[in-house]
């Protein structure tokens, strides 16, 4: 490492741009990035603004859910307390858990990344700022509405994992469960939007020279987390869809009497739920890997080991889901695998912990608030990890399942593993926002209160659990040995809350004393500590090592005086450099979208659509949906601007085009990620389809005579293939600038895609298959309906492309819109063929044997 740095400095080339910079260059850059003023600020989309709002919204939800926790702890302070009745208590723990997990933990780690990551990568913004703005508004508005259900006695009460049959139509008649299913289903959309942003951002907008091997660990982490969201969230999206359909239309996915199985929900939920834990923890680990070297003033020990550990956690965590189901009677044989994987995953986490300890050991640690919070993290997270390994032992889990031992464990890993690091991060990165550190004195007190309160609240709960107190009970008898323990826990909870309150006092006090400059108070080595304006860095640095600010002490003045790449705006608009994914060599200039009301409008429309749908107000729901759709349409319309400018000289002899189509383009990458998500949702539905097979007591398919004759699916598959061919013709027409041909082929291809779907669904229907009859039929219709959703999107895309062609903004050069839609379209067609093959192919196979 040391040697590498030296040889680099000997070889250091002159900065890519020379001084003095032309007059007005900085002013033009400032103009392009000037944030909107007054109430128009709400239309801002750049990551420094949206990121802050996003963090604020997530912290707000933490406070709200925390209040619910205090209510619960107050109720539990004394035995046989009748402050809160069972109905409300059920709503409280459900909302507390749900809001903490879905509206605080996941959003806050994404929000931190939205704020910090571009600066750390040396980008001026994320590749799709309006997408993050949309994600923020949809999440904030939707989340507040969801929380509001508490005030109308309409909150869900089935626990944060919402197991049927308790949450089925029969046992949860109110609309609470629907709020959960639709509300969370739609929060997930916002999480996925964030993941697309993070993946494309880390892979494509790194500063020139920041190859994969020099990428900050935090960026590696967010890349892994993005991938985990892509593969982790789809199962629960599928599950919420299925349960909501069951509740609304009585398709019996989880009803045992009609061939369904409530356990299927648990599989799908925890296929998501365990990766979720790491989706929450890994970003915290990434922040720790950033803070520890800066606070210890030495590079992270074992960079490569840590990267390997991140990959290890990311993949191993996919094989843990059934450890939440040890007590459900799944075959012992299968449990072995999940138990083993649950222990194996401790290894990569341990590797990271040793890397941090070694770094602290080697370095010279600064005594400051972030350090204290990190120590609190070490103490509590290691403890929680150990109780986790205890729980991975199947017989032990049987003993303490559903007791307060589990409540203690999960708060040790969640609060220990992500809340303490998050607060460390707030103190560590606050100078980027306030221009100064937060108060060391208040911070130290806050940390002491939080850690002691946390320990007093949750350490005794292990015992309470071992003594047999079940979770999710609104009260308990006196004299079972739980009284004192509960009282102590409640006192601890209030102490913890007072520590959190103190942090907010500190934030409020500091916000009145902000300074414009952004000093590198920790003498950190990563790029976010470069001097920045609303435009990010003045010029985009050339990166030569893992700690650019340490490797080249002159980097900050060089960057600020405009000596590095793109020291201004070349086109007069917002821009950032897109680089190649492995070695980060510059490829083209991305024109970044500016302020707009459309994301806000689309977000509000989406939230309204889901809300009104839940309370079955169809007209307002339709209105919300149309608003969202129109806003998205207009917003996308503005994005594909074509080569509006001649290629640009960014310095160092590099000239970049301002438009890129094909697989180089960032939109193409975003679409690929979206398709990965779609494919994973499909796999979850296919998993459900086959799952019914393995549990079927009798023959499968249960009623073969309600399957269509082979010509139906065969015709549908042929039409899909034909549509793909037409699409190819359309592309050839586009290459030849043959506008008529393009439109004709697009139109016919759309009709063919639609008719393929209609034939498939009609075939199934005319054979006499009813979705309400049996889980098998329901799962067939679920697969076909999922395909229908994609076909609907394809039709909208076709209309969009036709409109663009007619408006003269789609041609052989300005063609990104076409390429991105084509990718989705082709995927849809092949998905159609695959779905038909799965359904009718396996039915035929099973019938033959």
């Amino acid at each position: 490492m040391q040697r590498e740095t030296q040889s680099l400095s000997r070889l250091r080339k002159a900065a890519p741009n020379s001084l003095p910079r032309p007059d007005g260059e900085l002013e033009a850059l400032e103009r392009a990035w000037a944030p909107p003023k007054g109430w128009r600020r709400l239309s801002a989309v750049n990551n420094t603004q949206v990121g802050l709002w996003y963090i604020g919204a997530a912290l707000l939800f933490m406070l709200l859910a925390g209040l619910l926790a205090l209510m619960m702890r107050t109720q539990l302070a004394l035995p046989q307390n009748d402050l809160i009745g069972p109905t409300l208590y059920n709503q409280l723990f459900t909302m507390h858990g749900t809001v903490m997990m879905f509206l605080f933990a996941v959003p806050v780690v994404e929000a931190m990344a939205v704020y910090i990551l571009p600066a750390m990568l040396g980008a001026r913004d994320l590749p799709f700022p309006r997408l993050s703005a949309y994600a923020l508004w949809a999440y904030l508005i939707g989340g507040l509405m969801f929380f509001g259900t508490l005030f109308f006695d309409a909150a869900p009460s089935g626990g944060w994992f919402m197991y049927p049959p308790l949450t089925s139509y029969e046992y949860s008649r109110g609309i609470g469960a629907d709020f959960w299913l639709l509300g969370i289903g739609f929060i997930e959309i916002s999480a996925i939007a964030g993941a697309i942003e993070l993946i494309v951002g880390t892979l494509r907008t790194r500063a020139p020279g920041m190859s994969l091997g020099k990428m900050p660990i935090y960026a590696w982490t967010m890349l892994v987390v993005g991938a985990m969201i892509v593969f982790g969230f789809p199962p629960v999206i599928a599950a919420t869809l299925l349960l909501e359909i069951e509740r609304a239309f009585q398709w019996p996915f989880f009803i045992a009497a009609r061939g369904g199985d409530p356990l299927l929900w648990q599989h799908l939920f925890w296929l998501f739920g365990h990766p979720e834990v790491y989706i929450i923890f890994l970003p915290a680990a990434g922040m720790i890997s950033t803070m520890v070297p800066a606070l210890a003033r030495t590079g992270l020990v074992g960079y490569r080991w840590v990267v390997a550990a991140l990959i290890g956690v990311g993949i191993l965590s996919l094989g843990l889901w059934a450890h939440h189901m040890f007590a459900t009677g799944i075959p012992q044989l299968s449990l072995n695998f999940f138990s083993a994987a649950s222990m194996a995953v401790a290894i990569p986490t341990g590797m990271q912990i040793f890397a941090w300890i070694a770094t602290l050991w080697r370095g010279n640690v600064q005594r400051s608030t972030p350090t204290w919070f990190l120590l609190a993290f070490f103490a509590s997270f290691v403890f929680g990890g150990l109780t986790g390994v205890m729980l991975a032992v199947v017989p032990y889990d049987w003993q303490v399942h559903d007791t307060y031992f589990v409540v203690a464990h999960l708060h040790y890993v969640l609060i220990g593993g992500m809340v303490f690091p998050l607060f460390a991060a707030l103190y560590y990165w606050a100078p980027l926002v306030y221009g100064r550190k937060l108060s060391e004195r208040i911070g130290t007190w806050a940390c002491a209160l939080m850690f002691s309160g946390f320990t007093v609240a949750f350490l005794p709960m292990h015992l309470t659990g071992l003594l047999g107190m079940p979770r999710r009970v609104h009260t308990y008898q006196a004299g079972l040995g739980w009284d004192a323990l509960n009282l102590v826990s409640t006192l601890g909870a209030f102490t913890l809350a007072s520590g959190i309150a103190l942090v907010f006092v500190d934030l409020a006090l500091s916000s009145r004393r902000t300074r414009p400059e952004r000093p590198n108070v920790w003498h950190a080595g990563s790029l976010e500590w470069l001097p920045q304006g609303a435009y990010g860095v003045r010029s985009i640095p050339r990166v030569e090592g893992q700690y650019p600010l340490w490797d080249n002490p002159a980097l900050a003045p060089e960057v600020q005086s405009g000596q590095h790449y793109l020291p201004g705006t070349a086109t007069g608009a917002r821009e950032t450099i897109v680089t190649s994914p492995i070695d980060a060599s510059p490829q083209y200039l991305l024109l970044v979208a500016g302020p707009s009301w459309l994301p806000l409008l689309a977000g509000a429309g989406t939230a309204a659509f889901f809300l009104f749908l839940t309370v079955k107000l169809m007209l307002p729901a339709a209105l919300g949906g149309v608003i969202a759709l129109v806003a998205c349409w207009l917003w996308l319309w503005q994005t594909d601007r074509g080569p509006v400018h001649a290629p640009v000289d960014i310095g160092g002899g590099i000239t970049l085009p301002v438009y890129a189509s094909g697989s180089v383009g960032h939109s193409w990458w975003a679409m690929v990620v979206l398709l990965l998500v779609s494919g994973t949702i499909l796999s979850a539905l296919v998993f459900a389809f086959y799952y019914y097979w393995t549990i079927a007591p009798g023959p499968w398919p249960p009623a073969p005579d309600t399957l269509p004759a082979w010509p139906w699916p065969a015709a549908a598959a042929l039409l899909c293939a034909g549509s793909a061919r037409l699409l190819r013709r359309a592309r050839q027409a586009l290459d030849r600038h043959a506008h008529r041909g393009l439109r004709a082929h697009l139109g016919i291809a759309a009709l063919t895609s639609l008719s393929a779907w209609m034939i498939a669904i009609h075939g199934q229907w005319q054979a006499g298959s009813l979705a309400t009859a049996h889980a098998f039929d329901a799962s067939v219709y679920a697969l076909l309906s999922y395909q229908g959703l994609f076909v609907a999107v394809v039709l909208i895309m076709a209309a969009y492309l036709l409109a663009r062609s007619l408006a003269g903004v789609l041609d052989g050069i300005r063609r990104v819109s076409f390429e991105v839609c084509r990718l989705f379209w082709l995927y849809t067609l092949w998905q159609g063929v695959f779905v038909l093959a799965v359904i009718y192919g396996s039915a035929a196979l099973a019938g033959a044997t």
Binding site: S211, G213, P331, S334, N336, F337, A340, A341, M343, D583
Partner: protein, 120 residues
Amino acid sequence: MSVSIGSRLLLLTGGLLIWAGLFLFSYILAALACARGFADSAWLGVGVVPLGLVLAAVAAMAGLLRLIRHARRLGARVQHARRLDDTAGVSADVARMVCLLAAIAIAWHVLPVLISGTHC
């Protein structure tokens, strides 16, 4: 040097993807064995399920070995070329570490079944 990001990511994650494949295989094998009632059946005195598992694990380990060798060659090439860009070197190292993790996870994966048997 122009490797695609896809193949680079495949190299980095390959070891554990092999583990994931084995996991999926075992999960399906166990589900079928219990649902279709052949969990305890034997072939020439050897349990069918343990046999299947061990064979799959051996295949997986062989896959890991190949991957490790591939990564080592890549690493050696990088050193030889004394290139300043360390991406390939880092990737080769990380890939091997991931393989190591996968090897431990795989050993761990089959042992319990061999020890505690194949009850459903």
